[in-house]
């Protein structure tokens, strides 16, 4: 067991007579005391979380600002990082591998895909470490722990908004006309954020129990990225390989990441037509968001009292 046991306790001082068990329990009940560190009910939890909304917002903004505060160019990196990312992907997939064949407006197509995918990817990665990487915070202060994964997703959303500003410039530069359909980007982002937050909460719980997950997730996410049509059009691939069994196409198109990416492309790029979208795309996008959002929240809440312990 422990070393503490090795030396018998000295018996010099008088030990206080502890009241009997029943007395203490009854005393607690009489004065309406509650058990310390017990999990609140779901409605209570939602209320607590809502009460902390300003903390969630402040925490995510603070994280975002702190990220580049040591760099000489400072906040310029918010826009530079996604642009450089897109440039690398263009060099490899557009120029070297020629995936752009048959895809009109390839650069806007690719950049939209990269940005939207990065949003999901970094939200999930941040979510995996949300609890295990912030044990100090969890052990020092009381707040609904779901505030952490949500806050990290919000940070990624703010990051994405910077990227979207850069994206608008790219779109206009490559001659994509401004259209009414751009408004659709807003519901698409709301749904994607809900999905991301839900998945983050699931992984936050798993990552809190098994911190090793943080090492594994980058590989899972990279595999997921290549299956999500970030740098190629799933629609094109499917029409070129008609010999594939039909379920492959269904699975590829129902993939939530692909759904959100294609929705955004449909909203922003005029040459990306509705025919390239998977069937029932909005229903799919909403379904995934609700499933992950609600499911993830409940799953996370179920282990609320265990975070930061042990």
């Amino acid at each position: 067991m422990s070393q503490v046991l090795d030396t018998p306790p000295l018996k010099t001082a008088p030990t206080p007579a502890a009241p009997a068990d029943d007395d203490l329990v009854a005393l607690a009940a009489r004065h309406g005391l509650s058990v310390s560190g017990a999990r609140p009910s779901l409605p209570q939890y939602v209320r607590q979380l809502w009460a902390r909304r300003h903390f969630i917002a402040a925490f995510s903004t603070a994280k975002l600002t702190a990220q580049y505060s040591q760099a000489k160019l400072g906040q310029v990196w918010q826009v530079m990082t996604p642009l450089l990312n897109a440039a690398v992907y263009y060099l490899i997939f557009g120029v070297l591998l020629q995936t752009k064949k048959g895809v009109p407006d390839y650069v806007p197509f690719l950049v939209t895909g990269v940005f939207i995918w990065t949003f999901t990817q970094s939200s999930i990665l941040a979510g995996t470490r949300a609890i295990s990487g912030n044990l100090g915070l969890v052990r020092a202060l009381h707040f609904p722990r779901a505030a952490l994964p949500i806050s990290f997703c919000l940070q990624q959303l703010q990051q994405l908004l910077f990227s979207m500003a850069a994206l608008v410039v790219i779109l206009l530069f490559f001659g994509v006309p401004v259209a009414v359909s751009w408004v659709l980007a807003i519901p698409a982002l709301v749904l994607q954020f809900t999905f991301n937050a839900g998945v983050s909460m699931i992984l936050a719980r798993l990552g809190a129990k098994t911190p090793d997950l943080a090492q594994l997730m980058p590989f899972v996410l990279r595999t997921w990225m290549y299956a999500s049509g970030v740098m190629f059009s799933i629609d094109h691939i499917l029409s070129r390989h008609t010999d594939l069994p039909s379920w492959v196409g269904t699975v590829l198109q129902a993939n939530p990441a692909a759904v959100y990416i294609d929705l955004m492309r449909f909203a922003l790029i005029d040459s990306f037509h509705a025919s390239q979208l998977p069937p029932h795309v909005w229903a799919l996008a909403t379904g995934w968001a609700l499933l992950a959002g609600v499911g993830g929240f409940i799953y996370f809440w179920k282990a609320e009292e265990t975070y930061g312990r042990g």
Binding site: S2, T15, V25, L33, S69, P211, G310
Partner: protein, 289 residues
């Protein structure tokens, strides 16, 4: 012992009840293998069969502690290093699970401290906001108290430092700001872990005063300290923990006398200090396994 405590509390409302509390830590990656790959693999493969052989150690930090704290009391927790004081405090705050027994609390006990929520790359100003929100204050409350916090910390006495990132502060300045933020909120049950030892003498005096104020507003205050003087100054009841066991519970003077005799006695012969039990306060605590 109950008579003593009852004596100086006019209304006998209990705020914290500890009912035969045991706290046990499990630490991964100790022992023979010490975190090597083979030890880890061994641990995974053999699971519970050989926890000890695979390097999982348990530390029984608090054993069978029972007490009742009443409203209006200031309770000092004393004991040699690694006697389980901080651990017990964390369990009262609901931040550590108990192995056996129960802790009941009225209202939300809070540890005094916001260190973990603050970010060194941000300005002091933003950290005041962030820390306040993290403790559960509303935006209006933070705005209202902002000037008070900055004035109390004395950060701006030597120039406009509050608009500089916290990483540029001296360690004393940072500690003062942290204490000021943490002390800005009123608590039902306030738990203080050696917070008094920050800053220069002038600031220490100011913070002791603030703790007395907080005590008036809070239901109950728990103070962990190695300074016998600050325990005597602030507390009217003392719990003495030794090796995780409650050795004594009573009025400050009685317990302190015994404690001083105990620590004085122990000086000539080297006292075996249970080091492992001291760890829990640090962030190196066992990961959830």
């Amino acid at each position: 012992m109950a008579e003593h405590t009852n004596g100086n509390t006019p209304d006998l409302t209990p705020t914290v009840i500890a009912d035969h509390v045991d706290i046990v830590y499990r630490v991964n990656g100790t022992g023979a293998g010490r975190g090597s790959a083979t030890a880890a693999l061994n641990r995974i493969l053999r699971r519970k069969k050989a926890e000890k052989a695979a390097g999982v150690r348990t530390v029984h930090a608090v054993r069978d502690v029972s007490f009742v704290a009443y409203k209006g009391e200031a309770i000092g927790l004393i004991g040699t290093n690694g006697s389980g004081k901080s651990t017990l405090l964390k369990a009262v705050a609901g931040l550590l699970p108990v192995e056996n027994g129960r802790i009941y609390t009225g209202g939300q006990p809070s540890l005094l401290g916001v260190n973990a929520a603050l970010m060194n790359d941000l300005t002091g100003e933003r950290n005041v906001h962030l820390g306040g929100l993290a403790m559960g204050m509303s935006r209006e409350q933070v705005k209202e108290r902002y000037q008070e916090i900055v004035d109390f910390s004395g950060i701006n006495e030597k120039g406009d430092f509050i608009t500089l990132p916290m990483r540029t502060y001296s360690s004393g300045m940072a500690a003062r700001l942290r204490f000021s933020i943490a002390a800005a909120k009123d608590h039902d049950v306030l738990l203080i872990d050696e917070a008094l030892a920050t800053g220069d003498r002038k600031f220490q005096k100011r913070s002791e005063e603030r703790i007395r104020e907080l005590r008036k507003e809070a239901g109950t205050v728990f103070l962990v300290s190695h300074s016998n003087k600050s325990i005597r100054d602030t507390c009217d009841r003392v719990l003495w923990l030794e090796r995780g066991e409650l050795r004594m519970d009573g009025p400050t003077e009685d317990v302190m006398k015994e404690y001083e005799a105990f620590t004085g006695d122990a000086k000539p012969k080297p006292k075996p200090k249970p080091k492992a039990a001291a760890k829990p306060a640090e962030p190196t605590v066992a990961q959830p396994s």
